[in-house]
Subunit: 335 residues, 4 copies
């Protein structure tokens, strides 16, 4: 299965390295990036990429290429999805599809019309811990879910440049958790209430965003949930969740680099959480790519569909509206 | 220090046993309960109580008795506080003072006027785990608090009789967490948003109450918080909390009866949480009583004052209003 | 049930406080200690002890006293056991009975002849964690035991004065573990091999003792075991054990004072082990005394019999011989 | 760096897959195995191996090949080391070098004469947990080591065919632990005492071997240690160790596949240990190969030298002699 990759920034490079190293079903034929330079070309060639380009059309027009990975900036996602669909190529697109709900819907319609496959890059669905929680819930081990709780905190805030164009904490960070909470609940979100604060960096507030947030959610099933986010957990990448139900509860803990415990006269201590996302989620990034290859090669539905891409954007939009208006917001208000 | 105890129900008996066994500074002279019977009298005598009565006035009028423990039903608390104050006796009163804010204020005014000490029975402040979290926060180990999270779930729902007159989940159960979150935050709550559901028992819903709830809180300091409650955690008494701040996070785990781990071919398992509150909180009940004795004997301020009794009632009232009206409610709206 | 206590040193005082506070079945009539002084008398009176004396005969000759607690120095244990037996009084005796096997046997014979009850103070059998391991083994949860492993380390070495007269590390410290390993194995030890070293304090070596030791044991059942001891674990009281069997394994971890976990930029840490034995084992000391009261009051066999007192002494003697001679030693060689 | 691999059995295939997938510094030119067949050839080709052969001489005589991986049966190791050295090729050899100490010494002499590099496959030195323990010890975090304890248990016993020719539990299984304990101690073993039992499978005993063993060790430094092994831990691959020292202790716990904890009415449980060695040690196998490539490419000493291969064989021989003769054995007795 030959693929093209659009965008050779940080996330694009991670996919290139992972595919070349672990995903034997895929071959990267072309990497296109408008800012392609010698260093990036050398990186690509080092991982056996056949061709590099500044023009995505070199991918879209290539009849050899069966699928496209869209790893460019968010504002280009919808257009590239539409273009890939027109060219009959299967699509893996990083999250979110777009901040604009109408554009998301247009992109999904194009995919629908073309009959190609679309997978959205909600990588945490493939994390071994979160997946094991999901499996336990689906296997009925905790009965009917009543409450779902996600704590999700990054080691350090993004640059202010990033904050300016990211769409805000709900659209660029909590969107992962909106996806995860739907996934775990097995039910759609109907209402959100968002409470935010600027506690990490006033410059984030100056951009009209918050850096700390707690969002309460209601589900069609009657369950309720809560997500907390912080842009800065000094102890590292903190991502834990819990599903509480009629017959018990299941939770996961952070991965740590090793199991060592040191006891001395002052303290008993063990390792801190990972401080680099790529170290923490290597396995999940590989597994999402294997799942995409499996969907394309064996003609299965992708495990994270276009609809799975739409809903978190709706929830994020409702959360932003809730924060702005200081009241709970129904999802249908933003739909 | 001679004391009288009003109310010899479940909580009254716990205090009698604990004081007789562990609190050498106190001597229980009289226990008064309108439903005093032979069995209760035998129980009291078995723990060395000098006299029993059906009339609280036998306590109020006894010049020997320096302090009164009010362990009767909530609707009697305010009146007994006022009467104790009139009689110049120090007061330990079980939580909540009353569901009616005006009555709470009247009781506090009487205490103020009489210059007696008042301690409210928020026993979890004395729990060794929660206390160690508090100490870590106060010692600055996690920097400035940004978010506080409490999960608090009971092993099984109370009887419907209890639900009818308890004042609802916010007033009878989450009130402990409202106290704890103020205590940990070191800052007053300004606004709450309550989301509730009836997922455990429809009969609870039929009484106009919910059995599952998530409440978001904002603090004067700018921090935000969230509390979740369920009336039924089948795995036992689940009470965990976390304070997340600028320099780290501190959390506690449930106590379990022993540290044993069994590994066999199917599973690795350790003990479940306590399923009986009195087993779980023995140490905390003893310590709160020792603290009350210390305040009276050594003329110190009690560690849980009348104001500490008022605020959680305000927060609970605001939470109820928020649930009823489907919107965030400021504390001053109910004040 | 009225008792007398001989010896009001550290362990004697612990029993006085525990019995007065928690063991309602017992009443301490007399405490006898040749070094009885005003401070000790005040201590005893503070816990409601009726009489104090310098002469143990005031206990032995008192017809009111049904049982004697022997908490004096080890060299007096055998004589006091014999005297108590002569007087028809039940006996609780601290471990070890004596360092001399012939004297142990003489004491047991006197008990046998008199038909009184004897319980030996192997308090760790009553520890909630070790007991839960024992229960899991007896319930068959790990199948047939194959290997038993005990790590047992004290926070700090005893005084050299103590080392001079203690009988050595095997007789004064590891004897607890010899008892525990028999208890867990449900089978007698047949052979030991002891390896020791002086690593903590050369002064201990100067007295002919070791401060660090590993002892391998073989059991009649075919199982094998190992115990390690150190006189100084700077991180506190370290007592963990594991039973490994045909169907799994069970182990326990140290108790720590609370469950709090603090995560900051440098480290994730939780509480250290207890550094004071009396804090660590309060529950166990109380439970052994309740078990003794139960045996006397309800005429049951004591849970730690005279034979249970003899075997650890035999194992300790064999371990000492093994260390001295640098070879494995059979228990029958010292019997 | 072009390499040849001798032996395409289980361990050979693991190295082929790991090198092809993760070790970009190495290229496998030839795989030689006397039992080479179509399936193995297809496996090799699937991982990009250039040539396969039944004759190791196709590797030894190939001037292109810089290093040889010896993955054949133990009885061939010494001869292949000598032959590789003659041909001036660097050598990675699986453990143990040989059961016969004279043959080990002859192989090391040949390596010495030829001036080639030799690394022995003690893969656990590269395990992330054990390595972190080692690092903590070397960094002085626990002061001077006093006692070292290793528990090492396999999920299931090997076939009786394997037992017949493996050299026994000390030579084929505990040899890993002999290497690890030297590595952690930073000091040579001077004496061992071995106690063994046949508790898992009588057929193992019928071959003159034991399946359960505890070995006590003394080190030059004065420290002492103990290793326990079982051929069958039904709960999976159990490998934990602890170094106890003058300033504290460091231990590691087993890796488990995920961090999920499920609490229900009966039990709180988390994942079992890995039951397949290759899942458990993927990272370690890759890292040992990267370390070998680094030693060859950058002309460094290998991290596990020929002497590191000799000492565990000496200790294993002493342990066997100790078991046979029922007495502690000095290492110089077998040297």
């Amino acid at each position: 299965m030959k693929i093209g990759i659009i965008g050779a920034g940080r996330i694009g490079k991670v996919h290139i390295e992972n595919i070349a190293t672990y995903v034997r079903e895929m071959e990267i034929k072309t990497v296109a990036d408008p800012f392609m330079n010698d260093a990036t070309e050398a990186f690509c060639k080092g991982y056996g990429v056949k061709a590099v380009s500044k023009d995505p059309e070199d991918i879209f027009k290539d009849p050899d290429i069966e699928a496209v990975l869209i790893c460019s900036s968010t504002d280009t996602h919808a257009d590239f999805i539409i273009r890939s669909a027109e060219c009959g190529k299967h699509i893996f697109c990083e999250k979110p599809i777009d901040h604009d709900i109408a554009r998301v819907k247009a992109a999904l319609a194009a995919v629908e019309d073309a009959g190609v496959k679309l997978q959205i890059g909600f990588v945490r669905r493939f994390d071994h811990n979160h997946r094991a929680v999901y499996d336990a819930v689906r296997a009925g081990k905790i009965g009917t879910p009543h409450m779902i709780r996600i704590s999700s905190r990054d080691p350090e805030p993004p640059s202010i440049e990033y904050v300016k164009r990211s769409g805000g904490i709900f659209m660029d960070m909590m969107i992962h958790d909106f996806d995860m909470i739907r996934f775990l609940a097995g039910s759609e979100v109907t209402e959100v209430y968002a409470k935010g604060a600027v506690l990490v960096d006033p410059a984030i507030g100056a951009e009209g965003d918050v850096d700390t947030a707690i969002v309460t959610l209601a589900f069609e099933s009657g369950a309720i949930g809560v997500i907390d986010n912080s842009r800065q957990a000094v102890y590292g990448y903190d991502q834990r969740l819990e599903v509480f139900g009629s017959a018990g509860a299941v939770q996961d803990e952070n991965d740590i680099p090793n199991t060592v415990v040191i006891s001395n006269a002052d303290c008993t201590h063990y390792g801190t959480a990972y401080k680099v996302m790529w170290d923490r989620y290597t396995q999940a990034f590989v597994d999402e790519m294997k799942a995409f290859a499996d969907a394309v090669v064996n003609d299965k539905e992708t495990p994270v569909t276009g609809v799975d891409g739409l809903y978190p954007v709706l929830i994020a939009a409702a959360a932003k509206k809730s924060l702005d208006e200081g009241r709970p917001v129904k999802i249908f208000e933003v739909q």
